[in-house]
């Protein structure tokens, strides 16, 4: 067991995979700088800086994957997928269906996501639930260094398109790049368990579609993903003195959902609190409600999500993103009313 930062874990797993599989190439803006260690190690053909032409290089990634490469499309922020959405919606996600399974597009789209550092609403979205709506996509969102590396490996091995989102509060280089810029005068509410932790000596794939129970409990199931998992754990601790026993499930994979683990937990606690940094409506929080109802499990339900465009001003932003206070209040409310 080694200890690593979230960012190091991704790079280390990617590096291991690139050593073993020469088909893996990284394409994206500024990758010679942002992925400089891989750039030096594997050369400019395998780590290739692009123009600011997301629709061209994401679209090219789809075809390159079909033709035998394993491209990692490095996209800065997931917000910028707006300009390249056609490649995802109408191409990557549909190749396997259109070809009746004869052909596939095994590419990884890797992007930063999430807020908490005051960069405004076009740079801090999460969008994992939005992307999960599109059939044919796998959507991964790690919350620990071990999962960050293991899921990156799984993404690279998967025979289809994968969206891999790394939360900027967990990946220190993003926060440094977009938030601190060398300043010692700013600080962030970084979940320490997410930003640094134990990782295996040799990376193995963390299975896609498998959630993880981060804390066991009896009264209330919190289901979350990404940085918010750590907010849930904090909230769970805060609820403990009040005698509320909280189970925290980290989805890790948003699509496909690990419905089995979720339902097992709900059968026990009969209370579902979804904590989702993505937008509230028509997304992950709704889907989890449907999963419970479809299984015929009667639950009390609540959600703490991002309800609107993310504000720039730090305090407003903190109130908009799911925070520990909001989670605790909602949890109390759900237990009280029971």
């Amino acid at each position: 067991m080694r200890k690593m930062s979230f960012a190091e874990a991704i790079e280390d797993a990617l590096c291991q995979a690139m050593r073993e599989d020469s088909r893996i190439v990284i394409l994206g803006e500024d990758v010679h700088a942002i992925r400089r260690n891989l750039y030096v190690r594997f050369g400019e053909k395998r780590v290739r800086a692009t123009p600011i032409s997301e629709s061209a290089f994401a679209g090219a990634g789809v075809a390159a994957a079909m033709a035998g490469l394993r491209p990692v499309i490095d996209l800065y922020m997931v917000d910028f997928l707006g300009v390249a959405m056609d490649a995802v919606l109408n191409h990557a996600a549909k190749v396997a269906s259109f070809s009746a399974g004869h052909w596939s597009a095994p590419l990884v789209i890797r992007a930063g996501c999430g807020g908490g550092y005051g960069d405004g609403g076009q740079h801090e979205q999460s969008l994992w639930g939005w992307l999960a709506h599109i059939p044919g996509l796998t959507v991964l969102v790690p919350s620990t260094p071990a999962d960050a590396g293991g899921l990156m490996l799984a993404a690279l091995e998967h025979d289809g398109p994968v969206i891999y989102l790394e939360h900027k509060l967990l990946a220190d280089y993003w926060l440094e790049f977009l938030g601190s810029g060398g300043r010692k005068t700013v600080s962030y509410d970084i979940p320490p368990q997410g930003a640094r932790g134990a990782v295996p000596d040799k990376w193995e794939a963390v299975p896609i579609g498998k959630a993880a129970i981060r804390r066991e409990g009896e009264d209330l199931t919190m289901v979350s993903v990404g940085a918010s998992v750590h907010r849930c754990l904090e909230a769970a601790k805060a609820l403990e003195p009040q005698g509320v026993s909280v189970e925290v499930i980290d989805l890790r994979t948003v699509s496909p959902l690990d419905t089995e683990m979720i339902l097992d937990s709900l059968r026990k606690t009969r209370r579902l609190l979804v904590v989702d940094e993505d937008y509230q409506g028509f997304g992950l929080s709704g889907e989890l409600a449907a999963v419970a109802l479809e299984a015929g499990i009667v639950v009390k339900y609540g959600r703490v999500c991002t309800e609107g465009t993310i504000p720039y001003a730090r305090e407003k932003e903190d109130e908009t993103l799911p925070n520990v206070g909001r989670i605790v209040r909602k949890g109390e409310e759900m237990v009280r009313e029971a």
Binding site: V25, A56, A63
Partner: protein
Amino acid sequence: MVEADLWELYRQMLRSRVFEESVRELWEAGKISGEMHLGMGEEAVVAGVVCQLQDGDALALDHRGTPAMIMRGVDPVLLLREFLGHPDGLCGGMGGHMHLFSKEHLAASSGIVGASGPAGVGFALAAEHLRPGRVAVAFFGEGATNQGMMLEAMNLAAAWKLPVIFVCKDNEWSISTPSADVTASRVEARAQGLGLDAIQVDGNNVEAVWSIAGEALHRARQGNGPSFLHAQCARLEGHFLGDLLIRAGRRPWAELPPIAGPLIRSLARSEGAHLGERLKGISDLLSVIWNARAKDRSSQEDPILITREKLKGDAARLRDLEEEVRREMRGVRRNA
């Protein structure tokens, strides 16, 4: 460079044409659903490029992908079954004519205008890494040169010096819009403006296409980067089968009356633009119909007829070839 074999090119063009004639019949009989964009009129452009591809070369196609698929060697029976929606069609009936995929031939199409640009770049990138000396070809219309991802793709290919040939089949139309009305510059100028070598070629002259494409392919195979071919050609069957514009031109007495009523009301009602502008509107519409009619099934601009003309000297061989192709395609129709 290999000389063009005009007989073989004509054979391939004719295979595509006869196949698409079947498709047209089956579509009209209601056996094929949805839109149907034929490549009739583009056969010389497609043949001149596709017939010199090699194993491991890749094809990125637009909504008129049938001719390229046929000429590339995809089994026409599988194609026709696909169009008919059979579970054992090329794509199990999942794709249809706008979404044709043959992994074996590294050939993929898309119904999204402009998508063949990035796809061509991606195929070329894979060739560079995995199959040096192999190339990718992207086919698209002149209308697609207004689509951002196509423009981006041209720059990307040029910046990375990738082995991809952009082939613009310029039929002057984007559905019902004369492309020149919405395009502020010539096609070559924009390709050059994005760093590509751009060459114009008569898309009805299959030997000319062959020779220009041959040079471009050679350059690409040698690692000397991408090229852009601009080939003029005609849209012989309208934008798609059943195109109202074309129907209105072909049978105005039957097709125009139901359209005319509301148009005349739009002309006459109070409130709206000045009468002059309204009359210009009507005249715009008529000229669109008129101009579309000009190339509709035009024999002057039919690459099959133009190519056939060059082979007429050997009438017996020509007859044999044509009979063979028709026999093949009758078989395809039977087996589909």
